[in-house]
Structure formats: C-alpha cells, structure tokens
C-alpha cells in the first residue's frame, strides 16, 4: 500500500478534440438573432414558404418564453453574441476526398472515415451549420431506407417532412425547441420502411468549429411498422474562451412493433451550452431506447423522453453523465405511460469530480389509461472528491391504481471496503479506482457500439496515467 494517499485525477479532464481549424466559411449570418436573420437562413436554404412561416413562429415563441428557472445556470448565456448560421462549404460531399482540406483533416482526427469503413451502415457529418458529408450503403437505399440531411429531406421528401416535422416536439414546447424551430440547420432525416431491419448503426458526427457558434441541428426519425434502426451521434468542439450554444431537437416516431435505439456520446468542449430536446412517440408493441452519455459541455440540460402511446409499448433510457471542473450535467429522462401494459425503465449513472456537478432530473407519469403499466427508475451517483456535488430530482405522477412504480437512488463515494479489497490483492490505488469506476458505468457502456465502448474505457484508463504525468 502506498504510504501517503495522494489526490489524483481519476477521470481525465484532458480534452483531446480541442483543436480548431481556420474559419473558412462561405456564408454566415451576422451575430445575434432577429426575424431578419431567421428569414435570411430560410432564404439561403431556398425553403418552401410553410417552413419560413414556421421558423418565424418559432422565433416569436422563443422571444416570448422566459428562460427556465430550474436546472443549470443560464444567466451567462448571451444570445446576442452567437452566430446562428455558418455555412462551411458550398455543397455536400459524397466522398471524404471532396471535402475542403481543413474539414477532412478534422474528421480524420476524430476518426470518422475509419469508423465508417469498419462499423457503420451510413454516416452523416455536420460541420457548424451544415451537413458536409453523407453516405449510405447501396443495399440500404435499395431497400427504401432514407438517410439524408434534414435540409435534403425538406427538398427531396417535402411531404414526409411536412407530415411529421414538429408533431412530436411542437415549436412552442420550450424556449430552446422554439429557438431550434427558428434557426434549425442540418441534422438527420431517417425513414425506415415497414419490416426493414438495419443491422449496422447509422451514425452522425456533429462538429462545431467556429467560435461563438450556435449549432441547431434538427433530426427526425420515422421507423415504420416492424422496422429497426440504431442511430448513433457523436459531438465534439474546439476549446474557446467564449461560449458556444448547441440546441438540437430530435423527434422520433416508432410505429407499431418497430424498435429505435438512439445512442448519444456527447463530448463537447467545456465552453458549450448543450440544451437539447429529444422525444419519441412509441406506438403499440414498439420499443424506444435512448442511450445517452454526457461527458463534455459546460452545461447540459437534456431529458430524452418516451411517450408510450400504444398498448405494450416499451421505453428505455440509459443515461450516463460525467462532470469535471466547471461542468454541470443536468440530465435524466422522462417516460409518459399513456396506454395499457406499457413498461419503462430508466437507469442513470453519474460521476462528479474536481468541483463538477451532476443532477439527475426525471419524470415518470402514469395516466388513467396506463392499466397494468410498470416502471422502474434506478439512479446511482459517485462523488469522487469533496469539491463536487450530486443531485437527484425525480418526479413520479401517478393517476392510475393498476400500476407498479419504483424509484431508487444512491449517492456515495467509492467504497473504502471495495478499494481495500482490490488493493489487498496487489492493485495500486489508481488501478483499483479505475476498475471500480469502469464497473460502475459498465451497465451503460456495454450498450454502446464497440468503438465507443473502447473509447470510453480508454478515457477512464487515461486518467490513471494522469497521476504520473
């Protein structure tokens, strides 16, 4: 056993995607937001009139709504100091070689082209406001699967977009959904036809490059009856001294018997406000799953939700959060049981250290129609030092007698007994701590696609080495 116990970094605060490329945009709106800027974005995208009108409505709602009084500290978020639309290139590329050099280098360093070769059925890459690269395996497009950027979908599949856009998350849902409705750009549109199961994940990479950037991607996924799709998104950004804003809206429709899994590995740099609205509507016997990992950002407020509207629909939310110095992860999930025999499960794991703060915030609702519904929420939190903080804010609203609802949560530090056990078997303190933390998040990490799981474990291992250098 070491004679003195030194404080060391258990989880690394080093951020390896913090590099920035020169800002070689082809167009950007002026700083700040007003109706003119909204119109300019829409005009630039040559959108149909109904979308321009919807954007302007979203802007009105955004102006009218106050900032939320709960959650994280939004008082320093300056809406006037942000570029709401930055177009990085003239057109979308179909091969990585066609991309401007800086952008290609960025994705090479994040490792996207390599992952595409090995693990993925399709890739979309968004750089600032626009999706700059898109691909989908040929067999998949032959099966009728649509996987394009949201802008392309509005152009090529206007009827589908019009039918679903804003139906799961209305423009006036909350302040940030309204902002997204006004300023959205990029994001993915996915349609999976009846009975089609997409074996490999579809993936989107979101990159903010410019400083004072607002990224507002909009994603819409429609899984038709009996289909399956797994969508994965990753996010990174350079480190700047000024703040950026990421405010996405993700709407998902899971039709009868379909299953959608949406995995997020959010690793924004520590100057990004990440305020995202994500929701799925799950119909009869459908399954909707959120795997939501939040490692980066300055402040994240994100509560992916499942509205279970059909008999036997199932919703699952696996949430993981890590907060280091200067970070607040206010994450969790919501499950609304609006039909009989629905089931829901939320598992949340959070780690805070170096003054970081993690908060679990959740809602579980049983409506009078939710006979024989079941739900369970489990939240565990680890606090690694005395400067850090952990909160749990669950809410359970029960309007039905024939249900089963359970919630449990624990908050603690790493158990002395666990450490002692491992160290008595010859592990040093750092390895013992790493082993325990890896075990703690394992239920979530094992649900990640392999390359992300490896990355996650490496991240935690790296810090152990952090004690040396």
């Amino acid at each position: 056993m070491p004679k003195k116990v030194q404080t060391k970094k258990i989880v690394s605060d080093k951020y390896k995607f913090g590099f920035a490329m020169p800002e070689n945009f082809v167009f950007r709106t002026r700083k700040g937001l007003d109706a003119e800027v909204v119109k300019e974005i829409s005009w630039h995208k040559k959108e149909p009139a109904w979308m321009t009108a919807l954007r302007l409505k979203g802007y009105e709602y955004f102006k009218a709504r106050p900032l939320p009084k709960w959650g994280g500290d939004l008082s320093k978020l300056n809406f006037d100091n942000i570029y709401y639309y930055i177009k990085p290139t003239e057109k979308q590329a179909r091969t990585w070689q066609d991309l401007p050099k800086d952008i290609k280098t960025t994705y090479d360093r994040i490792g996207v082209p390599e992952a595409e070769k090995n693990f993925l059925a399709g890739v979309g890459a968004q750089y600032d406001s626009e999706v700059v690269y898109h691909s989908l395996q040929k067999e998949l497009s032959k099966q009728g699967i649509i996987f394009v950027s949201m802008d392309a979908a509005l152009r090529d599949y206007p009827d589908l977009v019009k039918k679903y856009f804003g139906t799961i998350i209305p423009a006036n849902d909350n302040k940030f959904a309204a902002l997204n409705t006004a300023t959205w750009s990029g994001g993915s549109f996915i349609y999976v036809p009846k009975g089609v199961k997409v074996k490999l994940p579809l993936q989107a990479y979101f990159r903010i490059n410019a400083a004072n950037m607002g990224q507002f991607e909009r994603t819409l996924i429609i899984a038709d009856e009996g289909s399956y799709v797994h969508y994965v998104e990753g996010c990174t950004a350079p480190i700047y001294s000024t703040d950026s804003l990421h405010s996405a809206v993700v709407e998902i429709v899971v039709k009868k018997g379909a299953r959608v899994r949406y995995t997020t590995v959010q690793n924004w740099s520590n100057n990004v406000y990440n305020l995202v609205t994500k929701r799925m509507r799950v119909e009869e016997e459908g399954i909707g799953e959120w795997v939501d990992c939040n490692l980066g950002s300055k402040l994240t407020m994100k509560y992916p939700s499942c509205y279970l509207v059909g008999r036997k629909a199932r919703g699952e939310i696996l949430s993981m959060a890590y907060a280091g110095k200067g970070q607040h992860q206010d994450a969790g999930g919501k499950i609304i049981h609006a039909a009989p025999e629905t089931s829901g499960r939320v598992i949340s794991k959070s780690i805070s250290q170096h003054g970081g703060r993690t908060s679990y915030r959740g809602l579980l609702q049983m409506t009078p129609r939710a006979d024989q519904a079941k739900a369970k929420v489990v939240c565990d939190a680890l606090i690694l030092d005395e400067a850090s903080r952990s909160d749990t804010y669950p809410d359970m609203k029960i309007n039905n007698q024939n249900v089963q609802v359970e919630h449990e949560a624990t908050v603690s530090k790493i158990g002395e007994d666990q450490l002692f056990y491992l160290m008595s078997r010859g592990l040093d303190l750092a390895s013992a701590e790493a082993l325990i933390i890896n075990g703690f998040i394992e239920p979530i990490v094992k649900e990640l696609p392999l390359e992300y799981a490896i990355e996650m474990n490496r991240l935690i291992q790296m810090q152990m080495e952090g004690s040396v250098g």
Partner: protein, 205 residues
Amino acid sequence: MKKERIIIDYLGKKKNVSLSVKKGKSLIYILLGFKPGDKNITVNLNGEDAEARILGAIIGKNGKVNINTFQHHRAPNTKSDLLINGVFLNQTSYKYEGLIKIDPKAQKSNAYQKNNNLLLSDRAHVDTSPKLEILADDVRCTHGATVGRIDEEELFYLMSRGIPKKDAEKLVISGFLKSIVADLVDRKIKQKIESILEREVSKII
C-alpha cells in the same frame, strides 16, 4: 444508548414543523395522517453525531394531502432516516416532496428516505418527488419511492388460508402502515401507534 426524544404529530395540526437535533442527540418524529392537510417538516441535524428518524403513516380518504420533508445535514457524522407509507382512496390527491441536503462540511453522514404508496382507487392521484442534493463526498445516501396497488399474491396467500377477502385486505394494509414502527425500540409507543393504525384501517375497510 442515546436517549431518544419522540414526537407524535397529526395531519391537520400545525402546518410547519421545524426541528433541530444537537450534537450527539437523537430524535424520532412520527406523523399520522387520517384527514386532509398540509405538513412541512424540516429536520436540521446541527451537531456532530446527531440522528433523526421521520416516520409517517397516511390514510387519504378524500381531499388533498401535501407533505414536504427536508432532512438537512449540517454537521459531520449525522444520520437521518425517513419512511412514509401512504394508502389512498377515492379521489384523494397526495403530493409528497422530500429533500435530503448534505452540506459540504457534513462528511461521513448517512441519509435514507423512502416513500411507499398504495392506491386503493382508480381516481386517487399520487405525485411523489424524493430529491437529493449532496455537496459532500464521504457520505452514503439512498432514497426510493414506490407506487402500486395491493399485491394480488399477498391477498391470494391469505385467502387460500381461509381468510375472507376483506380481512385479508385489512391485514395487508395495516401491516403496510404498521411497518413504519417495526423497529421502534420504545415498545409502549410502538404498541400505541399500531393500535391507532389498526383502528383507522378498520374504518376504511
């Protein structure tokens, strides 16, 4: 053994209750609720080694019941334990909000909080929100909440042994409520609470 201060309180009496526990002292607060009403209970654990238990048994027959609890750990090595069990009938609306807060200096503290609810009516409404705010690291906090109806298997077990359904229900419900005092050391008070709960349960079934 520490000498325990025991307080028995009822819903409908004074709304705000604020209690402080000094260094090395121990407190048990028992809340019984058989009619609508609001109660805000704050327990401050102000001195080292202070301990508090908050126990509650609620039968909601109608109207609104609002209970807020706040377990505030302000000194090291303090311990708090909360258990509130409720049974709700008719159109009762029950709102429970509980907060455990552990201040940065309250290291080596332990806190528990549990809110269990049985719904006996389709029109009853329960909204429970047990919260934690933990600002110290060397602590252990656990909370939980459950909402459901009477376990069919428990009823079936009793009925298969010849107990009529009504009596079986009564047994399950009074057992559920009485469990809050299951490990109370003071036998006299324990028996008193149990007989009160038994009497109240017979009124509803």
